[in-house]
């Protein structure tokens, strides 16, 4: 696999002004809605602390909770499967479908099935996979990865969707009214739910050990359709999704949608515990690198993630580079710390796609120390020699300058003249920092010069009088 070059990959997104403007504004708007919701709950910070500790407790006792979850599920009549990796997950799902003559899989959004690359696997074996979340369906029909874990097509404008749908489901190319497009998708999708040879699949937001239940949160009700109309329902579950008991669930449900899109709850919070009359319910518990991550002292906290996307919405780098530029299943700050656990070499650029401002950690509902983990990954990437020549040389130079007061002073005094350079020199395609922003005017003197001048007016420095 080739290395993801985040800077290069974001270039095509950045060069399109209307797209990046919309993307940036839309995600910041969601971040603001999240703030309103968070500030509306006096116990918000207490909930974050509880959520973090419940997750840490569960992850540190995960084997027992997995056994309890399995035991309860089996007692409820659920068939439980275990998959060590993506290949096993896909094989298990395919076998369940092919044994029952299923040719169509209607499914709700699942980052885990993206991670397993299940869609191409099943499609190569003659099973049509229909994503039933609008955003995810847009991305499927456009043959792209989701660019955001909650809003998969947030990087697209309505006119892009009109093009995709015109090419694939036959809507009118000239009509880019979102209502028309959403209705077109609804009409196109409905018959798949009703096919007698269809099965349904959902992901899993939370798995409750006490009751053996899988909890799925959607706004479109598409998980409820996928699970309740066909007789077979398969739920793919990452083993880190466990929580101990039902009484712990409200802590997460109260924060998930508030953090994700700024609404108090998703329109549908659905709990599956046992098969419906005459139906089958199968759980596939998937490890796929999670137990390995559990052993990483600095990084196991990332397994607390509840996939709300708040860290993406708040991240200035994500908002201005687009999710696709991260080249992995998980984009944004959380992607920068999860993707390297799968393949450090491939994703070595991602920990550098951050300003380390810490906003991601501050909005995280389960208090993952995302920016600290990003910093730690940088150290590992550097130790393992995965840094590009230019970045290495630039860092060496920065190290020399910042470590030597004389050099630093020369350079900062010289910086005053930068503002006097011709515009074309500063705001050109080679200077990424010159895009969409103006250089602030440099002060007439550096702080060092000011201090030298003003200090002379006092007889003694403070503290020595």
């Amino acid at each position: 696999m080739s290395k993801v070059d985040h800077v290069k990959a974001s270039r095509s997104f950045i060069k399109d002004e209307p797209h990046i403007q919309f993307h940036d504004k839309r995600l910041w708007q969601i971040r603001s809605l999240r703030d309103q919701q968070a500030h509306g709950i006096p116990e918000w910070e207490q909930l974050r602390e509880l959520a973090s500790r419940i997750k840490e407790h569960t992850l540190s006792n995960l084997a027992d909770y997995l056994e309890e979850f399995e035991r309860k599920a089996i007692a409820n009549g659920v068939v439980v499967h275990w998959a060590a990796n993506a290949a096993e997950h896909n094989r298990i799902v395919h076998q369940l479908l092919s044994e029952r003559g299923v040719d169509t899989l209607v499914k709700s959004k699942s980052m885990l099935t993206e991670e397993c690359e299940m869609r191409p696997y099943l499609e190569a074996r003659g099973i049509a996979v229909i994503e039933t979340d609008l955003g995810e369906r847009i991305q499927q029909l456009d043959d792209e990865m989701p660019s955001h874990i909650v809003i998969p097509a947030v990087h697209k404008l309505a006119k892009d969707v009109a093009e995709v749908f015109a090419d694939t489901i036959g809507t009118d190319r000239s009509n880019d009214d979102p209502h028309y497009l959403a209705e077109g998708m609804r009409q196109d999708t409905r018959p798949y739910f009703l096919k007698s040879t269809a099965a349904g699949m959902t992901g899993c937001n939370f798995a409750v050990a006490e009751t053996g239940s899988v909890v799925v949160c959607t706004n479109e009700g598409n998980a409820d359709l996928s699970a309740n109309v066909p007789s077979l329902h398969i739920a793919s579950i990452g083993i880190e999704k466990l929580i101990p008991r039902l009484e712990h669930l409200p802590v997460f449900i109260r924060m998930l949608s508030r953090s994700a899109i700024g609404s108090p709850i998703t329109q549908y919070t659905s709990h599956f515990s046992a098969p419906k009359d005459g139906g089958e319910l199968h759980y596939v518990l998937v490890d796929n690198g999670r137990s390995e991550r559990l052993a990483m002292d600095d990084f196991w906290y990332s397994l607390k993630c509840i996939r709300c996307g708040a860290c993406m919405n708040t991240c200035p780098v994500y908002r201005r580079s687009g999710g696709l530029s991260y080249g992995g299943v998980y984009a944004g700050p959380i992607g920068a710390i999860i993707n390297p656990t799968f393949d450090l070499k491939k994703y070595s650029a991602l920990p550098f796609a951050s300003t380390l401002n810490g906003s991601c950690s501050n909005v995280c509902p389960v208090k993952i120390n995302i920016h600290e983990q990003i910093y730690k990954w940088r150290q590992i990437v550097v130790e393992q020699g995965q840094v590009s020549f230019i970045k290495k040389e630039a860092m060496k130079l920065a190290g020399k300058v910042l470590g030597d007061p004389k050099r630093y002073r020369q350079l900062s005094e010289g910086a005053k003249t930068i503002g006097g350079l011709p515009r074309a020199f500063l705001y050109n395609p080679f200077n990424a920092w010159g895009k969409q922003r103006e250089l602030p005017a440099a002060p007439k003197q550096t702080f060092h010069e000011w201090y030298a001048q003003n200090r002379n007016k006092d007889d003694q420095p403070e503290g020595k009088a």
Partner: protein, 199 residues
């Protein structure tokens, strides 16, 4: 070793030292009256609140007045007859042509404006999703203050399937434009109606 045993062994070996499990409070001091809070929250999530109906009313007319062009109404409640009874449905796919589904909520949550429904209320779960619109009867005495109280309810421990439904099916996946009626119901109407004494 089976997959299961190998995964469990790996997890057991690699999980960090055990951290304590905190106690979760109910966070229920100084909460507003449940009925008013529910109505406000439901409205914000796009649900419609209908009040003023009494047990003596003809609910089929109440529903028809709200949806004058509806042809097929499938009812799972004794208070409304509809054009077909849920008991006559033996395959969920039959609900596709239904305009209006009618069901009674097991309970509701004031904090979020959610109604709780399970296979006990639905009989056929797809009743909440395949029809174009849903009417949910709710006894105001069945509203709990917040989600912490909701997850203490016994029904949660016995239901095979349960949903907290909060407004109609919705999406804002295209340019952030809010659309009601994504894949499921286009509208959710909550009709205030106490349970009859023999319910």
């Amino acid at each position: 070793m089976t997959n299961r045993d190998a995964i469990l062994a790996a997890v057991r070996q690699k999980q960090p030292a055990s951290c304590a499990l905190p106690k979760v409070p109910l966070f229920d001091t100084d909460l507003p009256p449940t009925r008013a809070a529910f109505i406000a929250a439901l409205g914000k999530m796009g649900g419609v609140w209908l009040e003023g109906a009494g047990l003596a009313d003809d609910f089929d007319s109440v529903i028809r007045n709200r949806f004058p062009s509806a042809k097929n109404i499938c009812s799972a409640v004794p208070e409304a007859e509809g054009t077909c009874r849920i008991e006559s449905i033996d395959d969920p796919r039959q609900l596709d042509g239904v305009d209006i589904g009618v069901v009674r909520a097991g309970f509701a949550v004031a904090e979020t404006g959610s109604v709780w429904l399970s296979e006990v209320q639905y009989s056929v779960n797809a009743l909440g999703y395949l029809p174009q619109h849903l009417v949910v009867l709710l006894d105001p005495a069945d509203i709990v203050p917040n989600l912490h109280h909701a997850y203490q309810r016994r029904e949660f421990f016995t239901a095979r399937y349960a949903v907290l439904m909060t407004g109609p099916s919705a999406t804002a996946d295209i340019e952030g434009v809010l659309i009601r009626g994504a894949q499921g119901i286009r509208s959710l109407t909550v009709l205030e109606l106490p349970r009859s004494s023999n319910d």
